[in-house]
Every structure is written in C-alpha cells, then in structure tokens.
C-alpha cells in the first residue's frame, strides 16, 4: 500500500514537473554571453560589475504563427532573478514564428486599485507616493558608478505621457521549439547607463524613458539558435 502511494506521488510529481518544462518561455539573463549570477564580480576591460538584483514585469505575452495566436491569459509576470521559478512563463502554443511581449505594465494596471500576486506592492516594485509600478529594476555595484560606495540602482517606471516606460518586444522565432529560451544580454545595457551623472534613478522622467527605450534590444534568442 505504502509503495503504491509512493509510486503514485513519483508519477504525479514527474508529470507535473514535466508539464511545467514542456511548453514554456524561459528568461535567461546573461552578461557577455554567460548566465548572470547575483553578487558575483564580473571583470572586463579594467572595470568590474556586480549585480545584486534584477527584476522586471513582462505582460501581454503572445506567440503567433501563420494560423493561430496564443495569448497569455495571465496579465503580468514578475521576473525576478532571485526566484528561479519566476523565470518561466508557461504557454500553450503548438507552433509559431513570433514571440511578443511588453516589458512593463500598461497604464490601466497602474491606476487600478490594490492587486494581488505578482502585482502586490509588497514585491517592492511599486512607488507609493507617485503611485505606479516600477517596470524594470537593476541594482548592484560597479567600478563605473560615481557614487563613493560604487552602488547603482536603476528603477525604471512611469506610465504617464511623456514619461511612459512600457516597451514592446518582438522576437522572430526561426525554428519552433516548445521550450523557448529568451536571453537578456545586460552587456548591451551597461554602456548606455548614466554612470557619471545619475547612477541612482528612482523616479519616472526623461532618464528612465531614455534607458527603457534600450531594453527591447537586450532580448534575443541564444546565439546557437540564431
């Protein structure tokens, strides 16, 4: 009897974990092609950088093909490098040649009342005094930061014209795979950050908009699949 239960659970869990991996979009943050590890020091060209936190919202995900389009029924996902499960979004598409999503949240989500789950302000992605969500958050230390402690924090958000920061991303899928891996190359972002003037952006505004516009270029398929 006990053995039977054991076998049952074994099968049950393998089915569950299998189905989780089966059809999914996985976000993999990389730095110069290598998977990013938090709190690890990366050196390049005489500079060093250490990432402490990377979080961003992904919303309105869809996969479209010639005949059909899959649309994510779940509104928004918080992708948090610290939480490995959050890097996966499961999908239900059988085929497709185009993946699209937004980095960040639309304005109606920003002005709705209090929300649960990934949108719970307790997740630290919410500004209370100028209500609205932080769409993209990158924090750490870098030799390039002008601050004495070399800290940097880029909290990019804002939904009102002209400071809206939500960005659309479109990735062509050349060959279909149920498991779609999307890399996020932070190396492309770093040269564009205002290390010397404002290594600490904590409010909506021009600076946040400027950096946000670069974000879509970071997303790519892994190079061996291109």
């Amino acid at each position: 009897m006990q053995q039977l239960i054991f076998v049952f659970f074994l099968v049950y869990f393998s089915v569950i974990s299998f189905s989780q991996n089966e059809r999914s979009i996985q976000f993999v943050p990389v730095f110069q092609g290598k998977k990013v590890e938090l709190s690890k020091k990366y050196e390049s060209d005489g500079n060093w950088i250490q990432f402490e936190s990377l979080r961003f919202y992904v919303s309105t995900v869809s996969i479209s093909g010639e005949k059909s389009t899959w649309q994510d029924p779940n509104g928004a996902h918080l992708i948090d490098l610290e939480d490995s499960l959050s890097l996966f979004i499961s999908h239900d598409a059988k085929n497709g040649n185009r993946l699209t999503f937004n980095i960040g949240l639309d304005s109606s989500t920003n002005v709705s009342g209090i929300m649960d789950g990934d949108l719970d302000p307790i997740k630290g992605m919410y500004w209370a005094w100028n209500t609205g969500y932080i769409n993209f958050k990158l924090e750490g230390f870098s030799s390039e930061s002008m601050l004495p402690d070399k800290h940097f924090e880029f909290h990019l958000g804002g939904y009102l014209f002209p400071n809206a920061t939500i960005q659309a991303v479109e990735i062509p899928l050349d060959s279909w795979q149920d498991r779609i891996v999307v890399e996020l190359e932070l190396g492309k972002l770093l040269p564009n950050l205002p290390w010397q003037s404002t290594p600490s952006i904590l409010i909506p505004g021009k600076d946040a908009v400027k950096i946000s516009k670069i974000l879509p270029t970071l997303f790519q398929l892994p190079s061996d699949e291109k």
Partner: protein, 343 residues
C-alpha cells in the same frame, strides 16, 4: 461499529460547520449618496462594503499596531474632531526622490476624489495607505513587517477571515479594509446642506447669505459645491515656501505649467482643519481670507486664471465670507460615533 458512528457524527459536524460558514456571507451595504451629488469615483464593485469590513478598517485605523514601535496610528494624524486632520503642526515627509513637509489632509468625502495627496501623486484610495506604512517620517514600517505582525496577532486573522473569507492577511485585504473605513467618511450634514435641502426651520442669516454670494463669485469655481472642490489642481497665488521649495504637482507630472499647483482641498469643516494650505502656513481662517484679498502673488506665471481679476475684500465682506465658511461645519460628522475610536 462504535467507531463508524463516531465517524459519521464527526462528518455531520464538519459538514454543518462548513455549511454554516457559507450560509452567511458578510452583508453588503452601500454608502449613502447625498441627494443631487455626483456619482462617487471610487469603484465599489471590487471592494464591496460590508459592516464587518468597515468595522475592521475602523479598528485598524485606530490601532498603533501598524507602526513599528506601536506608538502611532492613522488617527494620530487624522483626528475625527478636526475633520480627520492633524491640527497644530505641519508633518514632515521624506520619500524616494522627494523631500518635503506637508500639512495633513482632511479625510472627507474621499469617495468622490480622483487623486490623493497635495500633489495628486496617488491615483487610488486603496493604494494610498501604503505611504504612511512605508514612510520613515511617518509610521516607519515596511509593508512586509506590518503584514507579518498582523498575521501573527491573536485577533486580526479571524477578523480578516470574517470580512474577506480568507484568514491570511495580504496587502490587498489590509488596504481594502482601511479603504472601507476611509471611503465611508462622508460629511453632508452641515448647515449649508440643511439649508440646501430646505430642511424645516433652518435658514441662512443675512450675513451668511452675503457670504454665499461672495463665495459663489470668487471661490466656487475651484472650491465647487457640493464637494467644495472641483477635484483639480491649481495655483492660488501662494508664493513658494522658502524652506522646502515644494513645487507640488510639478514633481508628479514634470510639466513646468504644473509648478506650484496643488490639490484644491475641500472646504467642508474648514473651521476645524487648521492650519491651512499644503505647508500649514496660515493658522487662522481669517488669515486665509486676508490672503485671498491682499496676499495673492499676481506676478506668478502659474496663478490660476480664476484668480487673475484682483479682488479686494472689505472688512465686512471678509466677515461675511467667514460666516459662510462656518456653515460648512458638520458636527454630526465630527462627532459621529460610527467613525470614532472603536470600543
């Protein structure tokens, strides 16, 4: 056999217990919208008011458990007898990306407001309360610590379960409970209201009538009846404060034209909500009237067009205006036992 009877009895007990719980969901009520008032802005559909939710919000509002050292509650700054504002002194603020000192706002007829705080930076009443909870200058408590403390308390989990059907206290249930209380703070029983409703035996004095006329001509465009605010922002000609250089709405929108624009506050219960203005610069209501007569900065490029026609009030006119403003006092609201410290 005995065992199975026990089991059966146990099962029946369980089923009735569960059924009983589902039998009486908390009773939903709606706020009383005073006659001829506009529709409320707050979306009650996502947070239907229940007696038990309201009482929970009221308890939380008065409970210092929300602050880190359990020393202050919402009511420490928002006192019922003074229109739910903090008399005496201005309150210091220091939030991400902005520093300033702002005078506590009165909590009156919030259901009709589109945005909150002097700069309108908060767009929904439900999320407003995150501010005092997170804010070092205020209750100095992080959201997760508050949630943890409430979940660990002996009484709150069961109260939340009764109100929201879930024992676990989350940010959203906490905010919704507080909102059920604050959104119910409706003041519509001042002398002004009773006269407007033509209630028996209540009339304006001649002085109040003259005050109303002046008010309609010079104030009502912004402090529009019946809310005594048009819920917009404006610069009423105050010079920038020398200490904090608070630019108000500009910090939120980034539009230069919004400089020195502040929320147009309600004037209901204005007799008791001193000191006045976003920085509390005027102690007395007659100082405010004196300001509108003598103090407006006409050089300011931000001054609202509604105030560009110079108006000098005579001493008698000032008294008339004051007399009218006193008719906005609603003692039934200020002393309503339903809103007071829960016993």
């Amino acid at each position: 056999m005995r065992n199975s009877i026990f089991l059966l009895l146990f099962a029946i007990c369980c089923i009735t217990a569960v059924a009983f719980r589902f039998e009486k969901p908390p009773k939903v009520f709606s706020i009383q919208i005073p006659k001829k008032w506009p529709r409320p802005v707050y979306d009650f559909s996502k947070n239907p008011l229940t007696e038990i939710g309201f009482e929970l919000g009221r308890k939380l509002f008065y409970d210092p458990i929300l602050s880190r050292d359990s020393s202050i509650s919402c009511a420490s700054c928002h006192l019922q007898y003074t229109g739910f504002t903090h008399v005496d002194h201005a309150v210091s603020h220091g939030i991400d990306g902005r520093k300033g000192t702002r005078n506590t706002l009165a909590l009156i007829n919030l259901a009709w407001q589109k945005s909150f705080h002097w700069d309108g930076g908060v767009t929904n009443l439900e999320t407003q309360a995150i501010n005092p909870l997170q804010h070092t200058a205020e209750m100095d408590n992080s959201l997760s610590a508050v949630i943890k403390r409430l979940n660990a308390s002996s009484n709150y989990p069961s109260l939340f379960e009764k109100a929201f059907g879930k024992k676990e206290i989350t940010t959203s249930n906490l905010m919704k409970a507080l909102t059920q209380y604050t959104v119910s703070l409706i003041s519509a029983n001042s002398k002004y209201d009773k006269v407007s409703r033509k209630e028996k035996g209540i009339f304006f004095t001649e002085q109040e009538k003259r005050g109303l006329k002046l008010f309609d001509a010079h104030c009502n465009s912004c402090h529009t009846a019946p809310l005594f605010t048009n819920t917009l922002f404006a610069s009423n000609g105050l010079k920038i404060d020398s200490l904090l250089k608070d630019t108000g709405r500009f910090a939120i929108t980034g539009f230069p034209g919004d400089s020195l624009n502040f929320k147009i506050p309600t004037l209901r219960n204005i007799e008791f909500t001193f000191p006045y203005m976003h920085d509390g610069r005027f102690k007395k209501l007659k100082d405010v009237i004196h300001f509108y007569s003598e103090g407006i900065d006409y050089q300011s490029p931000y001054l609202s067009p509604h105030l560009k026609d110079r108006k000098h009030f005579t001493e008698i006119e000032k008294k008339d205006l004051l007399a009218f403003l006193y008719t906005l006092t609603d003692k039934e609201f200020l002393y309503n036992p339903r809103f007071s410290f829960p016993r």
